[in-house]
Amino acid sequence: MVYMQKINRDHKVRNYHQAKWDEPIIFELHKIGERGVTLPATEEEITNNVGDGVSAIPLEMLRKTKPNLPEISQNRVLRHYLRLSQETLGAAFNVEIGQGTCTMKYSPKINEAFASSPKMSELHPLQDESTVQGMLEVMYKLDLCMREISGMDYFTFQPGSGTQSLFTMASIVRAYHEANGEGEQRDEIITTIFSHPSQAATAAVKGYKIITLYPDKDGFPDIEKLKAAVSERTAGFVVANPEDTGIYNPRIKEFTKIVHDAGGICNYDQANANGLLGITRAKEAGFDMCFFNLHKTFSTPHACGGPATGALGVVDKLMEFMPGPLVEKQGEKYILNDRLKHSIGKVRSFQGVPQTVLRAYAWIRALGAEGLKDVARVAVLNNNYLYHKILNIHGADAPYIKGKRLEQVRYSWEKLTKDTGVTTEDISHRMADFAHHYWSSHHPFVVPEPFTLEPTESLSKADLDEYIASLTHIANEAYTNPEIVQNAPHNSTIHRVDEQDYFENPEKWCITWRSYLKKTNKTETINS
């Protein structure tokens, strides 16, 4: 007992507790008279010249009472938000596997330094082209990279997300058929049930009727159904490959051919292209358009849900339909070309989110062609390792065709739920106790009690093993001590929201603090 003894660290799951600050709502921090920041004083000469300025406002347009915002000192505002930040499980903090389909990867810090440099952040979008040559160069060069990765001929970075890219593709499909005089006739877009809901939703926004293909027994979109679906009404087809199942559809070229033969346009949703970089491309599979989420495959931070960028590429014949302007190179100069004959117009103000374009370009240059391919190879290796291990967990399964998967898998706890009553939602809550994200699936739950995991290349084997250990631990709990799972979370910032209809009942929902104050003014306090 004289020497130092080794500290026993043989625990299998992380001994975790999330930061819990119990912060009030910011309005509760209000103290009349406090200030968070002061504004520059208007010079006396100006005031002498024009008076108080506001008197010039026509009376009917003058605000009569100041907005009911809280008054808080700077220190306290900062403290509040710093605390809230700690209560948020960013990708930089966890073994980020559980937000399947979101390609949560490492967002390199150096790219943040670029994005927050005044040389980027202090540019106005309408500056003379001669003063933004660097910015345009980045956009142009990323375009060139994207062409290599996809085989497409032109890219725009205007869409602000995958969803807006899908919307842009639907817009281009419409413009294309309109230009060909088939705008009215071609009113159907075909998609699949395992595709992201935005595929169907954005096509509907563009006025299309949606035809949804369901999976065949192997999990592939049913090709026979596709054949039956196409017709002279087919405007387009939009699909991901692999879909959320992580299974690459090997007959994809047949799919695109069927659609092309019917006169439709083929759109490839490559939001999650993480398993495919340098491996296989949209062009060779017969697609006319594709998009990548720079905030997924290309590592730009997800930012709580944007700002972000969908990089949308098209084949030559669709170029004139793209939203403008496009960045082009003219001699040594970069210019903005806004003279696209049949342009759909625009989808997002100015040039989209250029700071994200910059980050993505920097990421590509940090990897090179070889590194990009390593991204795909390791993402797929990681995923298959995880997949292999999870299939060994009692109660877990992955429906559809067996064999290798690419970058993600949709799993099912169907058996475990039947055996124990513990649902995928319960497990989701319990995973939070070990600092893990865990996502089930979009609706509808085609796969019962689903969960969808996507480990990217950013994770090490040790990280994967930790995630697997947590899942295994919880599956064991489900069989031995289901309450602990069903009452989770225990170590999060908060506990389960009380099971009432707070979010469905108009008398109870409170979308803002003022609404909360109004509604609760009518009632007693609760001690839940």
Partner: protein
């Protein structure tokens, strides 16, 4: 010590060969290539992508900084461009919060992992609600344009009508987006403006209103910077046709301007960029939509709406999605339009901004913009032959300067300004040819008297000068 293997890439831990072998063994595969067997041979891309080889972090930073150095930014040159993206001061606390690694890298977690994100966005909704004086605000959309388009589509769904009336003074860039979002279902019909004032022509509005009108949309301040004063009348007219009134608004004005809900707006939308976002070459835009707490409206939002609720533990605030089943996440094409990644971080940031400024700050912001822009208009107007402002209305932040009578085109003026380290106003001569050689200048709280005076001096110089190009070419600009 010298025989180094190919090193693992810093971003990809499992590029270590031994680890790969171990994992493959576990999986029961021989090579990584094997894992791609599901992809048909003919689709395997055999070539090497033509992308330069990896740079180390230092090389990268030197390379990228070299490119960025080719830009000239608005801290280097004095900037008077606005036109949808505005040069305001961003308090340092805003940057600190949105650069926090937690917020920066979070995404779509549950409240049990991301309580802070939910609270921050709920608070944003709540703060913004005070600014517009309405009870419901959404999690941010892409930008003003898309928020306006969605507001119009909401109105169309509520009324079952397919036509929207918009003022002709709307931003052309914004209009392109609105049109694309509205087509093919909703038609955009334009209302004339009064030539002298820029204000919506109420007669024309009345003429065009009909039982097809889903909504009347207008902006305050307008794209051309003037305050649309007849809001109350417009919304009354709209209401008389059971049409919905939508007002797009620059939130930086709402410390001094009446919020549209005060003059009858049913839906308010706009851009958050002025509230704490750097311009980012346009990447700071972020849209908001606000309505009353009215089920008819709420159920038409495509966006997420975060609500507050108790948890099973006394005193805890919990959060969640209100009426989730509206969304395309839940209902795919049956949901309301579509939702996905938008601009949540800018929502959080706008919340920080509003918390910092508070009611007094927002008032002072508006006041100082009013003062400084009036001063600028006055001084510019003192230059012979320069008309500022082109419209006889009260302006907020932006105003149209007419150079038509100076013998110089806006292009020439702007080139002269550029040569003197100033980004001049937005050239309107292509977008609004009917206005002649007009330019949209933007003055905010960041402009000092000396900045404005410098602008005025330089324009004066420009107008006094025969530009060297003209001299060289021996011609005069004709306009």
């Amino acid at each position: 010590m010298n025989n180094q293997k190919k090193a693992a890439h810093p971003y990809i831990p499992n590029t270590v060969p031994e680890v790969q072998e171990e994992m493959l063994r576990e999986i029961g595969a021989k090579t990584i290539d094997e894992l791609f067997d599901g992809i048909p041979e003919e689709l395997h891309y055999k070539k090497d992508m033509n992308i330069p080889k990896a740079l180390s972090e230092y090389e990268l930073s030197r390379y990228i900084e070299g490119i960025l150095n080719k830009n000239i930014n608005t801290k280097e040159y004095l900037n008077f461009l606005g036109a949808g993206c505005w040069n305001h001061y961003v308090p340092a606390v805003c940057d600190e919060v949105n650069q926090r690694a937690e917020f920066l890298t979070a995404y779509a977690g549950d409240p049990y992992e991301d309580h802070g994100r939910y609270q921050a966005l709920f608070e944003y909704q709540s703060l913004m609600a005070e600014l517009v004086d309405m009870d419901v605000v959404n999690v941010p959309t892409f930008d003003w344009a898309q928020a306006a388009a969605t507001s119009i589509r909401m109105a169309s769904r509520i009324t079952g009508r397919k036509e929207v009336l918009l003022p002709k003074t709307i931003s052309p860039d914004r209009l392109k987006i609105i049109k694309n979002y509205c087509s093919p279902q909703i038609e955009c019909v334009f209302i004339d403006y009064e030539e002298d004032s820029g204000q919506i022509n109420l007669n024309d509005l009345e003429d065009k209103l009909s039982s097809n009108t889903a909504a009347v949309y207008f902006e305050n301040p307008s794209y051309l910077g003037f305050i649309e004063t007849k809001g109350q009348k417009i919304s009354k007219l709209a209401k008389s046709f059971e049409a919905i009134t939508i007002v797009g608004v620059d939130p930086s004005s709402l410390g001094v301007l009446a919020p549209p809900s005060h003059y009858g707006a049913d839906i308010v939308c706009g851009d958050l960029q002025p509230l704490g976002m750097h311009m980012n070459y346009g990447g700071g835009q972020s849209g908001f939509i606000a309505t009353h707490d009215d089920l008819t409206f709420i159920q038409e939002y495509p966006s997420r709406l975060f609500g507050i609720a108790p948890t099973v533990v006394k005193g805890e605030y919990g959060f969640g999605d209100v009426l989730y089943d509206r969304t395309s996440f839940a209902l795919r094409e049956k949901g309301k339009e579509s939702v996905g990644t938008q601009t949540a971080l800018w929502g959080i940031t706008a919340g920080v901004y509003l918390s910092l400024l508070g009611p007094t700050g927002m008032y002072e912001l508006g006041k100082s913009i009013m003062q400084k822009s009036q001063y600028a208009m006055g001084q510019l107007g003192n230059i012979p032959n320069v008309v500022a402002s082109r419209f006889e209305s009260t302006n907020f932040k932006e105003f149209v300067v007419d150079f038509s009578h100076t013998g110089k085109s806006v292009k020439e003026v702007n080139q002269y300004l550029l040569d003197n380290g100033i980004f001049g106003g937005k050239d309107l001569s292509e977008e609004f040819p009917e206005l002649g050689q007009c330019s949209l200048f933007c003055i905010t709280e960041i402009h000092s008297k000396e900045d404005i005076d410098r602008l005025v001096r330089t324009i004066q110089e420009c107008i006094d000068s025969i530009s060297s190009k003209e001299e060289r070419d021996g011609v005069h600009a004709k306009n």
